[in-house]
């Protein structure tokens, strides 16, 4: 991945709320942590994160977030790439998310029906958007959970081997530069 692109991309996505550790993680590249044992998340939390991530980037004609190991990426980031307060923020958000699933749907999020899962994510996305637009969130308030995990899922997925080479196009050594090549939507893909 082009570092400049990645920085720009993360900056664009996160706006002023860019968390330095995500930026530096993307810059430093993201190890394929597939199969690695979880270090910060419990196995239940890991399953919850994998379920949410797969809803954000599902398997289609290419692997989804779960197969790309996004939950392990998030665990690695929480373990070695986050400051304690950032880790705390994520963990608090994750716990509140699970509480809400239980309260609204009567069971753990991973046991909710797909319709319930999608509905809850949509609600959270709308709430986060409203918070952002109304400017209600003060500096001392945590970031809403949905944009946080969406950003992590996207960063983890498109820098994974599956995300970069199967979903997008990855060319390590292009060998030439062409400043105008045709782009055919539906056939071609963005470069990772």
């Amino acid at each position: 991945m082009n570092r400049r692109e990645a920085l720009k991309a993360v900056g664009l996505m996160l706006g002023s709320a860019v968390t330095p550790s995500v930026a530096s993680f993307v810059l430093s590249g993201c190890k394929s942590v597939q199969g690695a044992p979880l270090q910060t998340l419990t196995s239940d939390q890991g399953e919850l994160v994998a379920t949410i991530a797969e809803l954000i980037i599902p398997e289609t004609d290419t692997p989804g977030a779960r197969a790309a190991g996004v939950h392990q990426f998030i665990d690695a980031l929480l373990t070695g790439g986050y400051r304690p307060e950032e880790r705390e923020q994520f963990m608090t958000g994750l716990a509140a998310f699970e509480d809400r699933a239980r309260k609204e749907n009567g069971s753990s999020f991973v046991e909710n029906t797909p319709e319930q899962q999608t509905a809850l994510l949509k609600t959270l996305e709308a709430e986060a958007k409203q918070t952002r637009q109304s400017g209600q969130r003060g500096d001392d308030q945590p970031r809403p959970f949905f944009p946080m995990i969406k950003e992590l899922t996207i960063a983890g997925y498109y820098t994974s081997e599956a995300g970069a080479t199967q979903e997008l196009r990855y060319v390590a050594v292009p060998g030439r530069y062409d400043g105008d090549v045709p782009y055919r939507k539906g056939t071609d893909r963005a470069f990772a």
Partner: protein
Amino acid sequence: NVAQSPEVYDAIVVGSGVSGGWAAKELTEKGLKTLVLERGLPAEHRTSYITEHKPPWEFGLRGNMNPEYVDKHYAIQKRTGFISEEVAHFFFKDDQSPYIEEKPFTWVRGDRVGGKSIMWGRYTFRYSDLDFEANDREGVGVDWPIRYADIAPWYSYVEKFAGVCGEKLGLPHLPDGEFQKPMELNIVEKEFRKQVRANYPERWVTIARAAHITEPLGDRLPCHYCGPCWRGCSTGSYFSSLSSTLPAAAKTGNLTIRPDSVVASIIYDENTDRAVGVRVVDRQTKEEIEFRSKLIFLCGSTLGSTHILMNTKTSRYPDGLGNSSGALGHYLMDHHFKVGARGEWPGFEDHYYFGNRPVGFYVPRYRNISAQTKMDFMRGYGIEGEASRAGWGRNVDGFGADLKAALRDPGPWHIGMTGFGETLPRYENHVRLHPDKVDEYGMPLLIFNADWGPNELAMRKDMADSMAEMLERCGATNVRSYDRYKEGEIGAEMGLGIHETGTARMGKDPKTSVLNGWNQMHEVPNVFVTDGAAFPSSACQNPSITFMALTARAADYAVNELKKRNI
């Protein structure tokens, strides 16, 4: 208890970056037994590029680059945004040799043989007489003791060896050089160029001139467009000391490189009024060692070289070697940047690019270059920019298969520009030695006190406004300008441009300058300073090619003087 190296060298070069590498090459090729002292760790072409071509998913996170580790070791360097596992190993660990910021100053340092030439920006623009004459014309600082005609052949000389690609434009204020074929603007940048030419007769958009090769040069191969040059390049497709000058110097058999060598001061002989060598602290053992030579080239980076001169106090020079003028440490400059504009470029959705071009476009200075372009501030700025399509990190609402499908395609075209502005030399912008705090090598800590002045701030306003206006008039939409500078804060502070110059300026008069027109100390004639410290003004062009040309020119002069027994 100081050890003394038994060997007497013809020349000692302090530093192995852009300037030191050139000094080493020129002096060894002219037959001088040369010792290069580098405070950084060892590094070699190819084998030291440990992250080259590594795909993102193969990088580990755990351990190295955790935020607390970065805070501890790279508290200053991280302000650049460059500190990552890709490249952190080439940067200086700030906690080794801290410094004091009375006002914010980001001092970016390399920590390897090769210095910052390993991860430099590689943009390469000649200075012109508009720059060399500016101080004299406007009564600012001191006059450059040289003119374009003095340095032009040396620009050609270093460009041919370094390998520079670029487009000739025939502009008097941005002279053409010895160029390999230029890299290519992409289709939106070409469109932007067309619009700029149509709207502004005095403005140009060109692909950046850069020390990249697009044609074979010696055993170096043309760029293969992988993208992250800062990781190092095994094919030697960009100029660095490791790929270019140091191998040439080694080939002569006259080169000795000693890494881990912190040069603390110069040894000065009162009787002969000459330097006779340098004092080194070995970085690993902390042992003090003296090395002797007939000639000394200080190429330790602008502030590294000045630091050594300031720390050389003798009864004749109580305020630093060769500093009767009092100019040493003063007139610190950089290029002020982190100011510009960006916007979207509508259309062209069925156009894309292939390959990771290592440079963007450049807009040569267009302010104060003629009577018609006169502004209410002095000097001017050049603009670096790029057009590209947004990637997977762009903001797309929603989630699920729709989001994934949307991110499969590249996003809209964007165009962004950042200015690099000339900084006036001002006496109050200075570094000085702390009276008693020292680092672990016994060097007194540097205190920085420098900031942008009224001329720079007036220029910044024009930079933001002018770039936004240019983008809008030429067809960009949703244009926004920005300026990251806030007085007293980190954001666009001095030093961040990594184009720091001044503090041991050249000049015609020994009463007001440290060096003469050959980068030679007025007062200690066998000491030359050929890095950015020598600059009496900053111009707005990226300075490294001028370091190279001045160094090669000074080496030629010094060897002739040595032969004539004048030094």
